[in-house]
Subunit: 632 residues, 2 copies
């Protein structure tokens, strides 16, 4: 079985640290160097020295030589006391701090990895192996480390010779297992030690690593594409939204153009629900702590919640981080019978979650999150059908946005090894997990059971979609919940007139309107399907003589309900065309003498660059069809 | 010129205080007794005695005898020192406190009113007039009060004989001017001295007083009607909204039935705007203090604002009490030219204002206020046309709800005597006031100029409407604002490419969706026009044999988009009919053998109680017309 990519990435973080030392000198102190989704990073303290961007190429070169060198990764362990002495000798202050933490957590043995290089490499001069077949050994005046199987003795500064890092592994066995062209250094950033702005700022070096050069190239191409499609830049250029310093970070204000997209998505979501037995509800953005104590959010999410204080009333509240507790209160206000079940509430409502200012970005990392939230209250036996109906909505919705290619669904179920982590009886869990899986099968979903991925309150279906440039996004979710109905003591009367507790199904289709809109801006690169496009058509007369005819065309199109503008400015025809392209207008209609005579329009499709000449009525009816069918 | 009703009501408060003394004894200490919209009240400290509700009739009887008695109101003034001595002698501690306040405000003369009764009335035994043609005089061992024209001498306790109250007036001349049957005592309540819960609680006696018995009766009838229509009771009965203790007072949660009404109103509002050049925007519910410092809200409304604190970010925010500052930021993010003006933003957004818990009630006094807010940015010369267009929307909207009878508009302009109270140059004010008045005239509005009613930032048109039972509500408003555009330094480029500052017009049509919905529930007494009705039609088969046919009718009606239910319960026909009435369903369709044979439905109109028999298709097309025309 090939090693997972994450192992290779982690080994690369060691190789980079080693190479960095070789380039920058022994004073570089290492902090942490984990693998990440796209490669790895390492946080390093260069003291008074600054790592110039240009040096990254030198480090990369050294890394490749280490890879070629085929160094061997060897694990050895030391007692806490030895580990401290060893690390102190190496001058690794950050590692020392980590050992303190580990020993505070009752770890008694600390694991290290050494890269054992080939001695002919001049970079590794100074090594001396002791000829002992049973163990490796590292020692200095005060201590000696014995590594099973082999042993060596050193009289040099460890930090410039071989590379040893405190680490749990796992690692590749030899650095030469890593294809030389499957990785590269990416960028530099600043990062606080332990992520705390009160601590020292370290230099973070990011690396990219994939299975092969092909995949690395593909990723880099995707990133370049992503940069061009950056929704923050397009959002500003196309006047979709803005962020105001006076309002605050992560609190975007939606401009008229953005609202056209947002409302179209919102309306479409309601269209998909209104005939499936959903009722709309509306709940305030604040509530007293008691509500979130009862729901459990105050226990779990308190840090992420905004607290609210009334100046006149002197009362305390919280901004809602989720809509569910409010919907529980709406359910609780009714006396439902089994004949009323399932009860389905729909509310695209803005919830507020506090995030650190530095982590906020455009529409995708925000504090104001408009969830297209829905909560279904049903009987256990109704879960499967309800889930099927939701899956149906999700499939329709994502097909419309062209996102069903390459999707997959995580059937997030319990970890059988840790049953104590989950709330609710085994029987109910089994029924719910089975209902979710049955719904997944019945709807032909591309799903994978993911043990241990369930929420503590119930199993889930989490939907992952790939956008136009191949990035994966977790968007829709369907979650069974046995917890909140119990905490809120919800019930309805069953056939025997007894109180029965409903199951709650939380479901979100787009997830969050802000994030979904951000992703869609990038997915469509700012040129939206016609039904979403802020400006669908722009009419450009070739000269003032045709303003009258352009006006007629404009009136005709407006009457058909199209979002159309008529560029009656004094700009040149060329400038007008360029402006329309800058604005990503879907269709540009140029009108001149020929068109006026024939009562036609010369149509240019911005996306395909196709050019046609059509009668006005043909064009409008084509537009109407394109809008009605939500064509991509 | 007849005296204003308020004068009469104020005189009645003296008469009531006098009568109350006669019934309850001299120990009753008087606090304040102003006239109010429906009559008057007096706050009285009865010491250890409790005023029983039953005693109100005795007091009322005495009041009528005082009225019949034709007592004369006479004003006299005392120096502060004399007034204190006099009031102290009367034992009126609360009045004494008020004199202290008045003298602190540099008042040097304190005004009193005495009721001079007829001596033959045994209630006033103990009076003795001095025969002095020049003045009245009230004296005791320590002091003597001289009232111009006449003089009398007393040797009795003033508090049980004639009635003297510290008061600025004005009053009727003789109590007999007040029709005996034009007033009555209404109810008792508790009220803290100076409205402060830390002070002693006094007994407040409310009286009702109108021009005549007819008007008093009409008011009482209106109040009885209002009680029956109480939106809090109907809201619960019809499942329109709920208030949850866990969420908090003044933070209503809208139930599915309420949402049908709310969304219909919201959609209608947008329908009225979308072809008038409005763009929708969407702004977060919080912002940093800086925004409200700049707008001026933090200076004026801080007490009413909710402050917000982020648990992770440790950042401070406020919940928005108004949308305008946010809309200013959206405008500011654009570089508009005169060709773009006017710019019109529409956002029905929930703002939050803190009010004391005790003042919150149902939907009409809430903390979460969804304003159907709109802000127009225009040039001074565009004000009139813009206002006309808004007036047009208001007229259409309120005609639809049957509220245009008896409406009037306050043209709220500057008080010419206090020009320093207002912001902005005279020239701009004149243009704006004139533009508002011109728009009022052009649109045939029933308006009254109300000097001194303008906001400090600009003149307004405030619309007052009378509901079905005659209560007046201030609802729509159109306000010119020269202040915020200046504070936010807003500008657009004019024809000369210079920065020009726009005028902002704030406008709300329904005012607040919550309050408007509350008023509409009472206005329609829970039976809504069909386009608003949560349940438009209920189908009741006369027996199980007709369930199949009822189902067909149900499917037909659903297909037509009607909100219809089919009562397939096991209840008796009678019970089903009663249930439909309890739920205020607009149309009840009874189906039995005759209807099934003839493919008809027996229709009962809940509001008119009309009964018809109609073919299904006739009924649905009639319904569609009723909905489309928003018939009342």
């Amino acid at each position: 079985m090939p090693l997972p990519l994450s192992t290779r990435r982690h080994s690369l973080s060691h190789i980079m640290a080693q190479a960095t030392r070789m380039v920058m000198g022994a004073d570089a102190r290492l902090a942490i160097g984990p693998d990440i989704d796209t490669g790895w990073y390492y946080d390093i303290d260069f003291g008074d020295t600054t790592l110039e961007e240009a040096k990254l190429r030198d480090i990369e070169k050294k890394m490749r030589s280490i890879v070629r060198d085929g160094q061997e990764y060897r694990q050895f362990s030391l007692s806490v006391a030895d580990a401290k002495a060893f690390t102190k000798a190496l001058g690794e202050d950050y590692k020392l701090e980590m050992i303190e933490d580990l020993s505070a957590k009752w770890e008694t043995v600390i694991s290290f990895f050494a890269n054992l290089g080939k001695f002919q490499n001049p970079d590794y001069a100074g090594f001396e192996f002791l000829d002992n077949p049973d163990s490796y050994c590292i020692e200095n005046a005060e201590w000696m480390v014995v590594i099973p199987e082999k042993q060596w003795k050193t009289d040099f500064d460890f930090r410039t010779s071989t590379f040893i890092d405190m680490c749990q592994g796992p690692h590749v066995q030899f650095t030469s297992e890593i294809p030389e062209d499957s990785f590269k250094l990416d960028k530099l950033a600043g990062a606080y030690w332990r992520g705390d702005a009160k601590n020292k700022q370290l230099t973070r070096i990011y690396g990219l690593a994939f299975e092969s050069k092909t995949e690395l190239d593909a990723y880099e191409h995707m990133m370049e594409e992503a940069k061009k499609r950056d929704h923050r830049i397009l959002g500003k250029k196309l006047k979709l939204f803005t962020v105001s310093d006076m309002v605050g970070s992560g609190l975007p204000l939606i401009q008229p153009n953005g609202m056209i997209i947002r409302e179209a998505i919102k309306d479409y979501l309601w269209d998909l629900h209104k005939d499936r037995g959903y009722d709309r509800v509306c709940t305030p953005h604040l509530a007293k702590e008691e509500l979130y104590q009862t729901s459990g959010h105050a226990g779990k999410y308190l840090e992420d919640m905004f607290s609210v204080y009334g100046g006149t009333s002197k009362e305390n509240f919280f901004l809602k981080p989720m809509n569910c507790p409010h919907h529980m209160q709406i359910f609780a206000d009714n006396q439902f019978s089994y004949r009323d079940m399932p009860v389905r509430y729909f509310e695209p409502a803005t919830v507020y979650r506090d995030e650190k200012t530095g982590q906020l970005s455009g529409l995708t990392r925000v504090r104001s999150i408009t969830q297209d939230d829905g909560h279904l209250f049903c009987r256990v036996g109704q879960i499967r059908d309800e889930v099927s109906s939701i899956v149906d909505v999700i499939k329709q919705f994502y097909t419309t946005f062209g996102l069903m290619d390459g999707y997959w669904v995580s059937l997030s179920i319990r970890d059988p090894l840790t049953p104590e982590k989950y709330l609710g009886g085994d029987d109910v869990w089994e029924i719910a997990e089975q209902a979710l899986e049955e719904a997944a099968i019945a709807n032909n979903l591309n799903y994978k059971p993911m043990p241990g991925e369930a929420a503590f309150y119930g199993p889930k279906l989490d939907f992952m979609f790939k956008d136009a440039i191949g990035r994966e996004w977790q968007l829709a979710t369907i979650q069974c919940d046995f917890n909140q109905p119990a905490r809120f003591k919800l019930s309805f009367k069953n056939e025997k007139n007894e109180d029965e507790q409903p199951v709650v199904i939380h479901r979100a289709i787009s997830g969050s309107l802000e994030r979904f809109m951000g992703i869609m801006i990038e997915h469509f690169a700012g040129t939206f399907p016609l039904w979403l496009a802020p400006e669908q058509v722009r009419i450009i007369p070739v000269g003032e003589n045709f303003f009258g005819y352009a006006d007629e065309v404009y009136a005709e199109l407006r009457k058909s309900g199209l979002r159309v503008k008529f560029d009656d400015s004094t700009d040149s025809l060329g400038k007008k065309m360029r402006n329309a392209e800058i604005d990503h207008v879907n269709y540009i209609l140029v009108v001149g003498d020929a068109e006026m005579q024939a009562r036609t329009v010369a149509v240019r499709n911005y996306k395909t660059q196709d050019k046609t000449t059509e009668a006005i009525s043909d064009f409008t009816s084509r537009m109407k069809t394109e809008i009605k069918t939500k064509a991509l």
